[in-house]
């Protein structure tokens, strides 16, 4: 646990509770520090509060208990967070360009000034030539790429991804896994990634946090020390399989946890 990156984390959740008006206690006493440049995955069964945690970090809603701290006040401006939802969540009436331009437009950046950044973001996710296309003309994977381009157009320090590839086929998912990992390595981002796939979490993460449901809390934590870049060779290696087995067991235990 003596990770130097966690000594001065980007964001720290301190005994965070979240109880919804309906009475559901979605999170209870969540302690989590997210270090600079980590690829952190929240892994857990459906309903354990992963999305809730991510939304709290993004500032969408307030915790009902505990605190969320940003040690470096510089880091906590709106343009420093990118969010990718499980669904592409694009505006169907807007072109790819306009969808990616949205965050800048909302920050009142003129179309002309934004053009270079928007074009660069579109290129970064490999969609050159599709700027003028409408979402309905794109495949599921391409829509997800647009969604990622929109999240990174503001060059955020922190990218929050909520099961972004859960609805995609495996081939597309592998491809996007590689692309996101590559972008993460080259852009000095911090990523918090939510998934319920053990394999995806091991492949991508530098650290995995396992959560248990009712109420949502952290029950285990694993470091994945395999070197980057990771590729298909890693996916078929014994090390990878070892990690997957360990994490699977950890997840199975989490699901048997008695309510705290």
């Amino acid at each position: 646990m003596a990770d130097p990156r966690l000594a001065r984390p980007l964001v720290r959740l301190d005994k965070v509770d979240k109880r919804f008006a309906s009475g559901v206690l979605a999170l209870a006493g969540l302690d989590l520090a997210i270090g600079q440049h980590e690829f952190l995955t929240l892994l857990g069964p459906s309903g354990c509060g992963k999305s809730t945690a991510l939304r709290l970090i993004a500032g969408l809603g307030d915790p009902t208990g505990g605190r969320i701290e940003w040690p470096d006040p510089e880091a906590h401006t709106r343009r420093d967070i990118g969010f990718v939802f499980q669904e592409p969540t694009l505006m169907p009436w807007a072109t790819v360009f306009d969808n990616v331009y949205l965050p800048l437009r909302l920050q009142r950046v003129g179309r002309k000034q934004a053009e270079r950044d928007v074009t660069a973001a579109i290129a970064m996710v490999g969609l050159e030539g599709f700027a003028r296309a409408y979402p309905r003309e794109l495949s599921g994977g391409m829509k997800m790429r647009v969604s990622i381009a929109r999240a990174l157009v503001t060059r955020p320090r922190l990218l929050l991804m909520d099961e972004p590839f859960a609805a995609l086929d495996e081939i597309t998912r592998f491809k996007l896994n590689n692309d996101v990992m590559e972008l993460w390595r080259s852009q000095s981002w911090t990523v918090v990634f939510v998934t319920h796939s053990v394999f995806e979490s091991v492949y991508l993460s530098s650290r995995i946090v396992v959560m248990a449901p009712r109420p949502g809390r952290i029950v285990a934590e694993h470091r994945i020390d395999a070197a980057y870049p990771r590729d298909e060779e890693f996916r078929t290696s014994t090390v990878y399989n070892e990690y997957c087995r360990t994490i699977s067991r950890s997840l199975a235990r989490a699901m048997q946890e008695q309510p705290a």
């Binding site: 939304r55 939802f85 969540t89 505006m91 009436w93 949205l102 965050p103 909302l106 409408y134 309905r136």
Partner: protein, 273 residues
């Protein structure tokens, strides 16, 4: 399946042609049959005029009918325009404040569910200018579909998109301008199509209610007047013009809706399978 594509293309073209040709053929056949029945049975034109007779009346009475048509068109479109502006503005206001919506929506519903024919005589009493009174009646019926559809549309924006706007610190105005209004467009245009037809109905009904007492000179009044004089061919001619106006409104707003949505909305997009 290599030859499936061209044959499908051909069948699609046939379908497009059929969509125009079949209804036209049926219309033509009915008109011919109508004319034949009238002639064979020697039905007098003050009981049932044939289509040729009606066409002739349209031509000979155009001097009386044309100003009436213009009056009806003007009232219909003016009422519609006011309904669009008012309905849209009120829907936007509702979207800004739940309290305002809670307070006023029931009254909009009451206005809608009370038959216009029952309110029209009152309006005609209280409003001195018959034209304005008729305009108000047409407006009342056209207003509600715009209001309710737009309100529904403004609420229909994807909640994740709403969150995204929130994440980037969007102002109320930005949420409205870039998210809620575009999302409401298909609903609004649907409301517009309904309101267009209702506006015509409203203006015709109100004119009937105004009856001979007013100095109205729209198409509905011409129908009443021709009825009193047993000028049945002119009644039919005025009726044909009202139908024509209705069709015009329908086609116009269908086209507008299609043009506005064709790039993105399922209702206007033709999907290839």
């Amino acid at each position: 399946m290599s030859d499936a594509a061209p044959s499908r293309e051909r069948s699609e073209r046939m379908l497009r042609i059929a969509r125009v040709v079949l209804p036209s053929a049926i219309a033509l056949a009915s008109l011919v049959a109508w004319e034949a029945v009238v002639r064979v049975n020697a039905i007098p034109h003050y009981i049932l005029p044939g289509p040729l007779m009606i066409a002739k009346t349209l031509w000979t009475d155009w001097g009386t009918l044309q100003p009436a048509l213009l009056v009806t068109l003007r009232i219909t479109f003016l009422a519609l325009a006011v309904a669009v502006v008012g309905g849209f503005a009120l829907a936007v206001l509702f979207a800004q404040s739940e309290w305002i919506e809670l307070s006023f929506f029931p009254y909009a519903v009451i206005l809608q569910v009370t038959p216009i024919i029952a309110i029209a005589p009152l309006i005609l009493i209280y409003v001195d200018n018959t034209h304005v009174a008729i305009l108000i009646c047409a407006w009342i019926v056209a207003f509600f579909p715009i209001l309710s559809n737009t309100t529904l549309g403004l609420h229909s924006a994807d909640h994740n998109l709403v969150n995204l706007f929130q994440l980037y610190g969007a102002s109320r105005w930005q949420v409205l301008r870039y998210l809620r209004i575009p999302a409401a467009m298909p609903y609004f245009l649907g409301g517009l199509r309904i309101a267009g037809g209702l506006s015509l109905i409203g203006s015709v009904v109100a004119e009937f209610a105004a009856g001979t007492a007013g100095q109205g000179s729209g198409l509905a009044f011409r129908i009443l007047e021709s009825g009193y004089r047993l000028n049945i061919p002119r009644m039919f001619a005025a009726l044909a013009l009202i139908s024509f106006t209705g069709i015009l409104i329908f086609v116009l707003f269908t086209a507008i809706s299609h043009l506005a949505l064709r790039r993105w909305h399922e209702s206007a997009v033709k999907r290839e399978n």
